[in-house]
């Protein structure tokens, strides 16, 4: 890679910490040191969440200023973010200072705004997936597409509780598909993914992949 090392120190620290955490899994002596690094990592992850929220705010603030067709959504997001943040601070003050029950206002926002929205989106996704399944043969018309289509229908039918008690082989077909070819394929993929994960992790550990510092 033709990328210059911007901060060799960052690379050295990343490699060193990575090796210690990895070795801590196998060498008991390093467990304490590994725990110290893990705790530091947790703090960094939490800080990253805050930085991420600031980034989210900045991105949508910029989009809002662009005055295009999507800027209205960004405005809603920015307003909602600020409002929720203020409510959260208020609840935190109430809970920590006066021992009021757990974040009641925030819970109200979660129960009556976020949860219904996300659940509705899940319902919309069910529609999207159904549509995608119907549309699949429009995009592909070959033997593989035919098998795919047939398996989708068989697994769906096998999930039913109403008829399968009368026609038990439908459920057995589903069970066989899910637990034999599908699971075998999934296991094979997972093994490949695990090998890829090891390779990626080792490349980071030896410093050839540096997602930090470019």
């Amino acid at each position: 890679m033709n990328i210059k090392i911007k901060a060799p120190v960052a690379t050295a620290v990343a490699i060193g910490v990575g090796i210690i955490v990895l070795a801590g899994y196998f060498i008991p002596v390093l467990t304490t040191l590994r725990f110290i690094f893990l705790r530091a990592g947790l703090v960094l992850a939490a800080v990253a969440l805050i930085v991420g929220i600031l980034n989210l705010f900045a991105v949508h603030f910029r989009k809002m200023a662009r005055n295009d067709e999507n800027s209205g959504y960004s405005l809603i997001l920015v307003v909602a973010l600020i409002a929720t943040l203020l409510v959260g601070f208020y609840d935190m003050f109430q809970s920590y200072m006066f021992g009021k029950p757990n974040f009641q206002t925030i819970s109200w926002l979660f129960n009556y705004i976020q949860l219904p929205i996300e659940t509705s989106l899940m319902a919309v996704m069910a529609v999207s997936l159904t549509y995608a399944a119907t549309h699949y043969l429009r995009r592909n018309l070959n033997s593989y597409a035919g098998v795919f289509f047939f398996i989708v229908l068989m697994v769906l039918i096998g999930t039913l509780s109403i008829f399968t008690s009368e026609v038990p082989f439908l459920n057995q077909i589903r069970q066989w598909i899910v637990h034999v070819p599908a699971l075998a394929g999934a296991r094979g993929l997972l093994l490949g993914i695990a090998l890829g994960t090891i390779a990626t992790g080792l490349r980071v550990l030896i410093g050839t992949d540096r997602p930090y510092g470019g």
Binding site: K4, F26, I53, E118, A132, A186, L189, L195, T200, R203
Partner: protein, 260 residues
């Protein structure tokens, strides 16, 4: 140390040694022989098309974090972003990157800055943008839809960690008429990508980004090493089945538990 721990160390060192071996013995004169993966060919095509049209590429890094099993997907996505920034540096519009994870958004910004400096892209307006779009799966998916629907975005590359919500992203690309190349290591999402993406990356193909797009020696060595270990696993699985039929499964179990 348990047998499992010892086995882990041995596997990791063998893996590392194999990667170094393949890197050192690589013939730099010869082009590496890698099997054809249509998705990577398509990525090269869409980068060329973007340069021709003066349009923009959208790289979605998913919502996987950096401190979990999803990190490998996230790293592959960042590798993809890096290669794409390098390849599309002459585009009228720099690629736009979106993510649903705070840590990855920071790393994406870092990658963008570092790569842009390395290939001497002057000016912030010529550099890519890394956006944290949403912090939950659906908010991320819905937020990314607006980017996909932008007129100047001509192709979408999804590389990272997704759930079932990825169906919105792939079908949105289809509706816009922009090709979508998608890869993830989350199996339910992979099934959806297979059915809805223009070109899916199956399984660990996502990890071969550096080898196919960057032709980096260490990445190519990683791919070779994975192939070697894949064959080893095949042999071990078959051997395990035979041993079980021979009635040696209890011995194996005791060995794996480290109680021998």
């Amino acid at each position: 140390m348990t047998v499992t721990g010892f086995t882990g160390i041995v596997i990791i060192f063998l893996f590392l040694g194999s990667m170094v071996f393949f890197t050192l013995t690589k013939d730099t004169e010869k082009k590496p022989r890698l099997r054809h993966i249509p998705a990577f060919q398509k990525i090269k095509e869409v980068i060329g098309l973007t340069v021709e049209e003066g349009s923009q590429l959208h790289v979605s890094l998913g919502r996987g974090g950096f401190t979990s099993l999803q990190s490998a997907s996230a790293l592959a996505g960042l590798s993809m972003l890096q290669e794409i920034i390098k390849s599309s540096s002459v585009c009228d519009y720099p690629p736009v990157a979106s993510t649903g994870n705070a840590t990855i958004s920071i790393l994406a910004q870092d990658i963008i800055q570092g790569t842009s400096e390395a290939i001497s892209i002057e000016g912030h307006e010529r550099r890519s943008v890394g956006e944290l779009v949403g912090l939950t799966p659906f908010s991320y998916a819905v937020g990314t839809l607006t980017t996909i629907r932008e007129d100047r975005v001509s192709a979408n590359i999804l590389a990272g960690w997704y759930g079932s919500e990825v169906t919105w992203l792939t079908t949105a690309g289809e509706r816009q008429g922009s090709p979508t190349i998608a890869g993830t290591t989350q199996l339910p999402a992979q099934a959806i990508m297979y059915a809805t993406a223009t070109e899916p990356l199956i399984g660990e193909e996502l990890y071969a980004v550096g080898a196919y797009l960057g032709e980096d020696p260490m990445h190519i060595a990683s791919v070779n090493t994975q192939d070697v270990f894949r064959w080893l696993l095949v042999v071990m699985i078959i051997a395990g089945i035979i041993l079980k039929y021979l009635g040696l499964n209890e011995f194996l179990q005791a060995l794996l538990m480290g109680s021998l």
